[in-house]
Every structure is written in C-alpha cells, then in structure tokens.
C-alpha cells in the first residue's frame, strides 16, 4: 500500500521540535539565537542569562536537569549550557537522557572540577565544549557561536527536506506508482506492463508527476525523492507496482 502522504519525521532534530510537528510554516529561524542554562547555582543562571541577553540572544534558565527535560518538548532548538555537578541528576546523566530522546542540540558543559574523564564522557555524549570555571565570557560565547552555526546549518538541511517533502505530497496513487517505477529505473513500457496500463496512460501520469513536483528532468525527480527521504513501496519487483 503506497502512502497517501509522505510521512513527516517526528524525531527530535536540530531543525525540528517534537510537539510542533511540521505544519509547513514553522521552520525555526536561523537568526534567532536561543540558549538554555541548566545549573543548580542561581548566581550562574543569572550571570549567563544576563550575558546572553546582552548579545541579543534569548536565554531560559533551569535549576535542574529534570526541569529542563520536562520543558523540552515545548522548547525551540537552542544550545544547552549544562553544569556537570548538580544534585539528583548531573550534567553527564542529562546528556545521556537527551541522547536517548534523540535530541542533538549543541551542549556546552561547565564544571568547577575539571576532570579529563568527565570531559571525555561528556564529549562522547556529544558535548561540543567543556568549560572549566571560572571561564571568561568570550569562551562561552565562542562555543555558543559554534553551536548556533550548527543549528542553522541543520535547520537549512531540514528546510530543504521539508520543501522536498512538500513537493511530493498530494500525488495521486498512480503518480506514486510512476515515481516508484522511475526510481526503480523502469522504462515507460515496463511500467505500462506492470500496471496494466497503456503506454500513453503511463506517459500522461508521468508528465503530470513531473509537472506537480516541478521537476524538469528525471534526475531532478530522483534527487528530490532522495532529499525528501522518500522510500519507494517495498519490494524490488516491478510487479509489486500494481495500484489498488
């Protein structure tokens, strides 16, 4: 059974947000810099929030890992600035949970007790920087810039994926069969035989497919499908292309 519409990814991604599933208009802006600071020390939360606001970035603070995790589904992608030593759940454990949830937002880890072992653990869990307190504003800002650049790049990739998927929605079942056939390298004649259609009918569906997806040549169409992460209906045999 061919999908009626292309499935939208629901995994956390740097360009997406779990609850705000794609409606088509809510792509995160690459200009909007957001950071989250997770530290049980109120002084640190305040200091970092002030620093970020002074550079025009948005910052939201959390006093514990669990507070952050509870809020996560409602948050837009941003850099997470995480203290290693927190009671209840420490920074490394938080990184682990974020990874488990498929959240790959850039994470910057801070510590007052620099241990190589901890730093390496954090990096293996995806942390992009390890800051030893006391650290200068410049060090934190440099790491944040790297994180925001990565987020913007991911959002752009997601944007292209989103755009490609949009171009593939609304295809008729027949058009999807033709798309599968083209991806499978079948000729019009082979598709006609597999689908029990006349050659002319296949050509007609093929040209409406190309028109709808705004693809000028077959290579464009295949590239579009790849960008969208489109998977053709299971089964390599052309005989599986029979439409319902």
């Amino acid at each position: 059974m061919l999908p009626a519409s292309v499935a939208v990814g629901t995994k956390f991604s740097m360009g997406g947000d779990l609850l705000n599933s794609w409606t088509g208009d809510e792509l995160p802006s690459s200009k909007h810099r957001i950071a989250y600071v997770i530290d049980d020390d109120r002084g640190v939360r305040v200091a970092i929030t002030l620093l970020l606001r002074s550079i025009g970035a948005e910052c939201r603070a959390f006093a514990s890992a669990d507070d952050f995790l509870s809020a996560l589904v409602h948050l837009a992608p941003g850099c997470a600035i995480i203290d290693v030593r927190m009671p209840d759940k420490d920074g490394v454990a938080l990184l682990g949970e974020l990874a488990e949830r498929g959240c790959d937002w850039p994470a910057i880890v801070m510590t007052g007790h620099a241990e190589v072992r901890t730093a390496v653990k954090a990096m293996k869990l995806g942390a992009i920087e390890f800051l030893e307190k006391p650290f200068g504003d410049e060090e934190l800002l440099a790491a944040l810039e790297r994180g925001w650049t990565a987020l913007a790049a991911a959002a752009e990739t997601d944007g292209r994926t989103h755009d490609a998927r949009r171009r593939l929605t609304g295809l008729t079942t027949r058009e999807r069969c033709i798309l599968d056939g083209i991806i499978g390298g079948l000729s019009n004649k082979e598709m006609a035989i597999a689908l029990g259609l006349s050659h002319r009918t296949v050509e007609m569906h093929r040209s409406s497919l190309m028109r709808r997806t705004r693809a000028r040549k077959v290579a464009d169409l295949i590239s579009l499908a790849a960008t969208a992460g489109y998977e053709k209906a299971a089964g390599p045999s052309p005989l599986r292309l029979h439409a319902e």
Binding site: V120, K121, M123, K124, E129, F130, A142
Partner: protein, 137 residues
C-alpha cells in the same frame, strides 16, 4: 623486529568545508593501511590541529610517517615523542576525537613549543586523553 612509538602534532590546513570529508578519507585509509602494517594508535582532530600516536614495527611506523609528513592537509608536523616501546598502549588504530573544542585543543597546542619548554607531563596528558577517548566503553 623492534617496536616503536611516535607521537606528533601538526597544524591543519583544511578549510571548515573540507574538514568532514577529508578527515573521513584520512580515517578510511588509515584504518586499512595501519591494520596491514600492524600499526595501532589514535588520531585527534581539533579543527586547528592534528595529533596522532602511532605504535608498531619500526618499518611500519617509519613508512607511515614518511607519507604523513608529505600530506598537504597539514603542516608544521612536529614529532614530540618517539622511541622504543615495550608494549602497545592501544589495541587498534582509531579516531579518538573529531571536533572544535578549545578544551581538547589545549592538550595539543602547548606541544608545539620547543623541546625544552615541552614537559613530559604535557606529552603524558595528551596520550592519556587519547586513551580516555578510545579505551573507555
């Protein structure tokens, strides 16, 4: 055959756009070639610098270093430690770290100093870092 170990640091000439692809290539070639030569060790890339430890038969390590020194993807190749080794520190060759952390780069940067200003502890710290990345699960 004598068993040797060599640690070098170098300055990357890669642009940000090239990094991923070029380092992937380096890793692909190294995994195959080093296994053939029975050379083990670890590679660190920090965006600014490379650091690599190679250990194995003298001929193998020498052959590798000859081609590594000629590689245009880095310059200022500085051997910070080399000599006969009694045992392997690494069970195989792998990429220990790929990233742009300044914290990690601080393990590598100081080793470009002249040998008098390059204390043994800095060398040991870098090797320890490589082990921490590759040996823990």
């Amino acid at each position: 055959m004598a068993f040797t170990s060599l640690l070098y640091v170098s300055v990357s000439t890669l642009t940000p756009e090239q990094e991923r692809e070029e380092v992937d290539k380096i890793v692909g070639v190294a995994q195959r070639r080093n296994a053939e030569l029975s050379v083990t060790g670890a590679l660190i890339f920090t965006g600014t610098h490379f650091a690599q430890l190679l250990e194995g038969p003298v001929d193998g390590v020498d052959a590798l270093m000859r081609s590594i020194s000629r590689d245009p993807r880095h310059n200022s190749v500085t051997v910070v430690d080399t000599g006969e080794a009694t045992r392997r520190l690494f069970p195989d060759w792998s990429m220990a770290y790929f990233g742009h952390s300044r914290y990690i780069d601080r393990f590598v940067g100081p080793l470009f100093a002249s040998s008098e200003d390059r204390p043994r502890t800095s060398i040991d710290r870098l090797i320890g870092l490589m082990q921490e990345f590759t040996l823990s699960n």
